[in-house]
Amino acid sequence: MSDFSFSQGLWELLLRGVWITVQLTVYSAALGAVVAFTVGLARTHRLWIVRFLSGAYFEIFRGTSALVLMIWVFFVVPLTLGWQLVPMWAAVLTLGCTYGAYGSEIVRGAVAAVPVAQREAGVALSMPPAMRMRKILLPQAWPEMVPPFCNLLIELLKGTALVSVLGVADITFAAQLVRNATGQSAPVYTVILVMYFVLAFAITRVMRQVERRAKAGVGRAPAKGTPQARRAVAGRPQDLAGVAQRSAAPGSPGPSTSGGAS
């Protein structure tokens, strides 16, 4: 597996594949985020019918396989309904809906984990439910959601490899073409595995930044490893450190700004 002498054109093919994979990941993540927050919050709704419908959505999309769904959307829906989705969008639709279902569980769990007293305080201030969600619950739940969302994003990145089955020219599809052209499997598959790993690593890095900012947004100590965190942990319990930080910087944005992602 020492032969990396693909011609220029084959490298271009792979790099174009990387771009398609990145696009797929971004679009599916955007759709997935919308689905996750909609379904996740609907599952905490007062009306049982809303809870039932969103719960059914979650169980169906979590229970079935993304590949089966993708093939169904791509091959069956055109036959029966008479219109054809562009492969790229069929893939984004399936990936977004599937991973959005997983994400809804993260959203539901994080919102449920906000201390009850916070919600009660909102009631005591006679905030309407939507405002309570927007101003109190989501800003505090958001930092808890970021690490599991990071894992889910990496799962999504790995899931995008499935679209090669539909003929979308992502990294995996490009690798099959290169393999057919050169007749060598080991080099090209090693190269694309490394490409996926690098993309996953980039996601981890970005999400770590997001997590740090989210935590700072609700006045909690930054993640471990930063100088402030080490100082804070050395001195006193984390929550106290958070209070101290907040009072030290009265002009800081405060909790309300970090909920913008909803």
């Binding site: 169980e59 229970g63 993304a66 089966v68 093939i71 036959l79 790993f197």
Partner: protein, 216 residues
């Protein structure tokens, strides 16, 4: 939407063949993932850096790259290295290897969750190292991790259709073959999709019950 029940009837014999293959892949993959995962978890705890570090790095690499590409890698590259396996065996190897990196994390958490007092008690009784692991630590750790392992079995079930791409005729593979012979995809794919929910949903309920019993 035209749903033709007679098509569904025609698909049924192939469907059951597919279910059998899916379950074989799942069973083989689970056994491999459970056993390899324990090996990785123990190797990662090794005090020898030469052992723990490469295992950690490889596990991280496998966990962060797509199973589909790993399957292609195994399917096309292993024969080049002189190891020719059947498609199903390659699929089981791929599933098992990929998920072993997840189960390794589960075992690690389970082992870390055993109270330090248990280790100290084993030391106080001057149990040999092997006996400490086999009789004290692992029984307590494994009990805790059963539900989490079960979740990965369900995840593996949902990834098993990927084996279709290397030519294994599991449920989805059978459905596509049926579709290409009869040009009727709808009924077979819907049946396969429902089959996944029918297997996965009771399994997740079972796991929830198991979790209540085992994890206290």
């Amino acid at each position: 939407m035209n749903f033709d029940w007679s098509n569904l009837g025609d698909f049924m014999p192939a469907f059951w063949d597919g279910v059998l293959v899916t379950l074989q892949a799942l069973l083989g993959g689970s056994l491999l993932a459970f056993s390899l995962g324990l090996v990785w978890a123990l190797a990662q705890r090794s005090s020898l850096k030469v052992v723990s570090w490469p295992v950690k790095a490889v596990a991280e690499f496998i966990r962060n790259t797509p199973l589909l590409v790993q399957l292609f890698f195994l399917f096309y590259v292993l024969p080049e290295w002189g190891l020719t396996l059947s498609a199903l065996a390659t699929g089981i190897l791929g599933l098992g290897l990929h998920y072993s990196t997840y189960t390794a994390e589960v075992y690690r958490a389970g082992i870390d969750g055993v109270p330090a007092g248990q280790w100290e008690a084993a030391t106080a009784l001057s149990l040999p190292r092997s006996r400490t692991w086999i009789a004290v630590i692992l029984p307590q750790a494994l009990r805790r991790v059963v539900p989490a392992l079960g979740n990965y079995v369900i995840a593996m079930l949902k990834d098993s259709p990927m084996l279709m791409t290397i030519g294994v005729l599991e449920m989805l593979g059978e459905a596509r073959q049926f579709g290409s012979q009869t040009f009727q995809m709808n009924e077979s794919i819907v049946a396969v999709g429902i089959a996944f929910i029918v297997i996965a949903y009771p399994a997740s309920l079972l796991l929830r019950a198991l979790e209540r019993r085992l994890v206290r």
